[in-house]
Each structure stands twice: as C-alpha cells, then as structure tokens.
Amino acid sequence: MSARAIYVPCDAAALSVGADDVAAAIEQEAAKRDVQIKIIRNGSRGMLWLEPLVEVETDTGRTAYGPVAPEDVAELFDAGFLNGGTHDLSHGLTEDIPYFAKQERLTFVRCGITDPLSLEDYQTHGGLAGLRKTLTLSPEAIVETVTQSGLRGRGGAGFPTGIKWKTALEIDASQKYICANADEGDSGTFADRMLMEGDPFVLLEGMVIAGLAVGASIGYIYIRSEYPHAIKTMGRAVQIWQAANLLAGSGQTFEIIIRRGAGAYICGEETSMLESIEGKRGQIKVKPPLPAIEGLFGKPTIINNVLTLASVPIILDKGAGYYRDFGQGRSRGTQAFQLGGDIKRGGLVEKAFGVSLRELVEGFGGGSRSGKHIRTVQAGGPLGAYIPPHEFDVEMDYEKLADIDAMLGHGGLVVFNEDVNMAKQARFAMKFCEVESCGKCTPCRIGAVRGKETLDKIIAGENVAANLALLDEICELMTDGSLCAMGGLTPMPVQSAIKHFGEDFKG
C-alpha cells in the first residue's frame, strides 16, 4: 500500500489549539504501528471549531476528524481512520459537512485543500490560469474585466476596484506600485491571514495581474506584525514564486517585497500604510492627491486589500460574468464572512452577497457556544455597528447594511451573549480610538478622550441625560470633523449601542 496522505493544517488558528502536537502524535503512532503515512500541512478549511481538523485521503474522498487532541490519536488508529473508519470525532467526507458544502468558495477555492507552498498543487487546482489569460490581454482589457465583474474593495470602504485601477492606468509614470494591504487590523477578522497562510500564491497572482493592468513592476505586501505565521508563509511563497520566473518570455517583470507593520491599527488606512512602508510614522495624509495618482514614493500606487487582489485571478480566469453572477444589487461576487466571539461554529464562510445575518450566525454558526441568548452581533470590526436581534434578517450586502446604519467592513461578525454590557462596549470603542488615533486631527484625538470620559460618567450614573446629550454632540463632531474613518466611524458602534440597547445607558 502506498503511503496514506493525512492532512493536518499549519494555519495559525489550528496551531493555536495544538495542530503541531497532533501532527507529531500521528507521525509517532504510525511509526509505532509500522504503517506508511505522509503528512501534508495544508491551510485551514475555515471550520475553526473543528481545529485541529485532521483529514485522511481515502478512496471516496477526504474524511474529516476533529477537533483532534494528541490523546485521541491512538484511538483513531484503532478505529481504522486511515481507511475512513468511524469514531466519535469523525464527520464523514469533509466536502459534505454542511458548513462547508453550503459555501460558495471563489476566493478561498483552494484554501485548506492544497499544500500552501506547493506551486504544483496550486496549478493542479486552477492556479495561474488567470495570469495566463491576463498575459494575452491589453491593460485596458484587464481593467475592463475587473470593472465588469463588479468587484469592490474588501478592505472596508467597498470602492469599485476597476475604477481605481483605471485611474492608475491612465497616468504616465516611470514607476508605479501595487500595495497589498495585509494589515487586517479589524478585530473579529482573520480572512486575510487564513488566505495568506492557506493559499499565498493567489495573492501574488492577483498582485501580478494588477501590475500588468496598470503598468506597475513592483509590489509591496504590508503585513501586520501580529501575524508571524502569515509573514513567514508569505515570505517563502514570494521566494518560490520569484524563483519560478513565471513572467519569463512575456517581456514583463514583477518584484514583490514584504514589509512588516509594527502594532499600529491606523496603518491599515492606506495613506498611513504608505508612510509606514516608507519607514515613517504612520500619520494620515490628506487626500487628494489620491494614492492612485500620487502614492508610494510619490508614484501612482494601487492599494488593495488582500481579498480584493486574491479575487482577481478567478475573475480573469472564469470571466467577469461568472463572478458578477454571484451576489445582488451593487454587491457582486462573494464575501468572506468571519464568525467569531461567542459562537458555536466559528470560522470562515464565503458566500454570495445577500445571505442573511441570521443564516450566518444561527445557520452556519449554530448560535452561541456558551448556550446563552445572543444579544448582539458587531459587524465590520471595531468601527462597525452593534446589530440587535430584531435586525438579524438583514441581507448582507453593502447597501442593505447601510440602510440599517451598519456596515460590512472587512466582513467580521462578532457574537455577544446576554452578559454583554453595551455601555462598556461603547466605552471600549472610544478607548480604542483614543489608543489608536494617529493624532493628526482634533475631533478624533480629543473627541475620543472626551467620549470615553463622558461614558465613564454615564456608567457611574452621573447626570445621565445631560451626559448622553453631550456624548451625542461629541459623536456628531467626530463624524463630521474627522479627517479619516478612524475618528469618523468610531461613533457608529457607540450610537448603535445607545440606539438599540438604551437600557444599558441608564447609569
């Protein structure tokens, strides 16, 4: 018998609950029993509550076991898991697990399936097809395809990607840059990380396509320092990619450089990120000029989120129409929703826009992990709204969320149970802004401090009505007067908490 392939993820979330120990235990047990196995360290499938999720390649497909602890390994061998044998931890074929089967995986099509650093695996599973097609197209045609796909920026603002690219394409410059924003600062989000660790080449392919589209020959990936595993995997992926010399013969070149962040949330904002890549303080710069016209080192620069760039290869490969057919209204394609907090089945769900919040949290997520009543879901990171249960039927797209004064952001969904105190969450939003403000403008710098102090008074029961009125004024000032969305959106979680959970603000 040839060696059985066993998959044990190397994704940081899987490692965080012991995947390395499980891989070692399987290796040992196999040696002890003198059976041939081959362990492959794949990315994560995104079913994080099952991590470490061990998969065995059987004649009928990959069979899933999880969450596996090292202590379970001998038992799994006894149960014949190498042939897909059943055990308390078995879930049948991975692809049949409803959580996975019901998704629409476009951007994450390979994540968890392949060996992240095998370029051969990458190509066997559809990688590089988009790039090959791109090399036959004019820059205008590439940009047109992206425009037609309806792809919008996945970093938070949802700006149409094709329009941004067109701006940079139309400018004549000796040098242009592509910057992948891998700062993923929004709490409750981990999709960029999962993709960089699970399918790093797709980001590189997307960057090269962007470079061919706008005429840029250098790309930067700015990765937050809180992601050491992603930094390592991307670093090795870049080496493998460059060595493969995939653009040979095309007359084009593309160099990729990785830069680490250093613990500043604001560096996820694009102008701040560019300052940081230049080795400076991450202070916000006033726009215009737009980075697409005058960006990194003063040159035209396309800044896109990791998921935006990673969605480009499949669009070029399968066509704009294929991608656009997913989704609804002005929100086309798929979104990687990330379920976190007090949720039974936390993880990544890639679905076409339009799926309801309820389906995500209750259907996919299975409700709270604690078994307690769910009180709210914060959508879109620390600057996003707290959504109350009576709005859970909202269809998840950019416009429908805006209609209820909420936002999608980077797709993070954080579930809170009945124990949450919403006045404290509102205070946290102000405190976070105080800690992370770049300090450039007064409404944000001073507003956050005043907002936090005012909430302290409300929580202590001091002149509650007057302080709520003052807080409202502070929020208005921050919304209207801040230079960027850090100060400008901090009122969103605060005001949504007051609006929907007023009973927590009575002192």
Binding site: S16, D192, G341
Partner: protein, 144 residues
Amino acid sequence: MNHEPKDKILSICADYGNQPDTLIEILHDVQVELGFLSTEALIQIADALNISRADIHGVVSFYDDFRREPTQGPTVKICRAEACQAVGGEDLAKHAKETAHTNIHDVYCLGNCALGPAVLIGDDLYGRVTPERLDALLKTKAAP
C-alpha cells in the same frame, strides 16, 4: 556598550542596503537581537541610514511594538479586542496582569477570533486560553 552589538546593528542595516525606507524592518530585527531598542542602538541606526535622531525617535514612539526598556523573556501579547472580550478575554487579561511575568502587552486582535481568548507568546499563537492554561504556558514557554 561593547563592539559586538554595534557590529550586529550595522550588519542588519547593511542587509537592508542602509535604505531609510526599511527603517521599520531594521528596528524589528535589532529589537529581536537586543531585546529592546537602546538609545545607542537608535543613534547607530540613524547614522547608518543617514536620518536624523529626531526622526528615528518619532518613528519608534509611534509604533507599539518597539520597546525602549530592557525586557525579560519573550513578549506576551494578550488580545483585548471584541471577539475575545465576548468569551472571557478581559478576565484573562486581568489574570495576566497579576502574574509575575513583566513582558505582557495588550493587543487588539490576533486573527484568532473564532478560538478566543487568544494570546501570542513570542511567535506562537494560542487559542481558547483559560487563566490556568496561561499560567502553564508562561511557566513552560515564557520563562525569562
């Protein structure tokens, strides 16, 4: 300061071509090497990259990752953000402050929001960390 760290610092700067735009990369590497960023180290880096001392101080003070005081043991980063708050992260953070370990820092999200509370020790990520598990981890992984 003896000569060794200086040589090391200069060679890190040289690895990055002494380019001012690589300053943050250099600061990270030097901090790994020395455990913190001493004033002498900053002066040497500033000179190597031909940037002003005021500029380098400005950069170092802007970013939370950089430490100006010697530290003991690996850096422990505890997530204080929302998804971890929702599953007991604040109690964990409070517990962490009560331990003897001094190199503990607050961070806002470690990208492990489905398996919180999350903690990063050095470059190792941990999920579903209870106060007891943190104690055990600090004992085995983070002894100074």
